[in-house]
Amino acid sequence: MSELITPSQTVGPFFAMRLPWPDGPFVVPEGTPGAITIVGRVFDGAGNPIPDALIETWQADPEGRFAHPDDPRGASASGYRSFRGFGRCPTSPDGSYRIVTLKPGPLPCPGDEGGTEAPHLDVSVFARGLLDRVVTRMYFPDETEANAADPVLSSLPEPDRRATLIAVPDPASGRVLQFDIWVQGDRETVFFDV
């Protein structure tokens, strides 16, 4: 019934009037025990930073669950009351963004498929010049075994681009991960048709 769907249009240059929220980058409040920080920059096809993009993240909680009626297992018993699952951050003039969150747990694949998805975040990029959002995923560098078994990472049509989906650990801090996004170019990030 796609003949009824409302088409996408670009978020344009002025979304910053409405879409950024003061607490948007904080999936959990800063200082939450166990919190990690994801930092990154967004680049265009000429290698220049994109200063007017909006990054959104969506992810499971540390037990790999979602507080959502379509997760058949239901929310985690432990609650994670301050955990929203959702992060939103506009890029700065240098193309950078920052999200404070908890590392998600691994997720069971639904239905008859079996197997497990490695911990990941779904990441949307909106920007002036993007007529629809583009979607990628961020995986974790310390999950070598889980990443190797992940049904998405292990079935990429171009395996040599897999590294674009895996965050880079910050040598200075075990709690900081870097995830740059290249919208176009030699280092183009893998984007998904969801």
């Binding site: 992810q59 959502h68 009626p69 010049g129 007529l131 995923r137 176009q184 990030t189």
Partner: protein, 240 residues
């Protein structure tokens, strides 16, 4: 364990959304992926999504004419409609965020250089949550057209930006709502980036005299349809 219970899936619309590479809109040039998108099977992360609700909303969020000490300049309008999925089912309790120019075609934004006046009584941002029937309602003023640098004598038709979450990551939508009878629409590359003329029509609100309030405001109606759940859904759970 229970993860073997089937989860919903959301159909992938074809031919509805604009292509990411659209030469008429110059800014797409360096900002579209050149490699093909990789099909992502929908699993738990994709069929769930943030359910953001009432805690974000204050009473004046949906009345853009009441956010300052006085009333803004311009034509007052009532803008209402329903958020549906592509099967016509209402999407309840979902957050809508909007932003727009003032009556003179000026955004309140630091990077806006159009030499039209700002209105001290109009910010141009709003939020609403759909009710149990998927209904939303804003009171605002008619936005203006404004020039932009895409090509010589380029003007954006009047529009209001809409951002919607739906109930799942796959339903997320950012779009623009246009007004009927605007002569700039046929000239606008962003509006015309949508390939199907019928799909373009779905971005245009309808004037509604029944919604119009005498001596006060014009009424416009605009329904928004997000992606729907596929028929293969496990249907024993109530949607509402």
């Amino acid at each position: 364990m229970t993860a073997e219970v089937p989860i919903p899936s959301y159909g992938r619309p074809r031919g509805v959304h604009p292509p990411l590479d659209f030469s008429g809109y110059r800014s797409t040039g360096l900002r579209h992926p050149k490699k093909p998108l990789v099909l992502l099977p929908q699993r738990l992360t994709e069929v769930t999504g943030p359910l953001l609700g009432e805690e974000l909303i204050t009473p004046t969020d949906s009345d853009l004419t009441m956010q300052h000490g006085g009333e803004p300049q311009g034509q007052r309008i009532i803008l209402t409609g329903r958020v549906l999925d592509s099967d016509g089912r209402p999407v309840p309790d979902t957050l809508i965020e909007i932003w727009q120019t003032n009556a003179a075609g000026r955004y309140r934004h630091s990077r806006e250089h159009h030499p039209a006046p700002l209105d001290p009584n109009f910010t141009g941002v709003g939020r609403a949550i759909t009710d149990s029937g998927g209904n939303y309602r804003f009171i605002t003023i008619q936005p203006g057209a404004y020039p932009w640098g895409n090509h010589y004598n380029a003007w954006r038709p009047a529009h209001i930006h809409f951002s919607l979450f739906g109930r799942a990551f796959t339903q997320r939508l950012v779009t623009q709502m246009y007004f009927p009878g605007d002569p700039l629409q046929p000239l606008d590359p962003i509006f015309n980036s949508v390939p199907d003329p019928k799909a373009r029509e779905r971005m245009i609100a309808q004037f509604d005299i029944g919604l119009t309030q005498p001596e006060w405001a014009l009424g416009y109606r605009w329904d928004i349809a997000l992606r729907g759940r596929d028929a293969t859904v496990f249907e024993d759970e109530e949607d509402e």
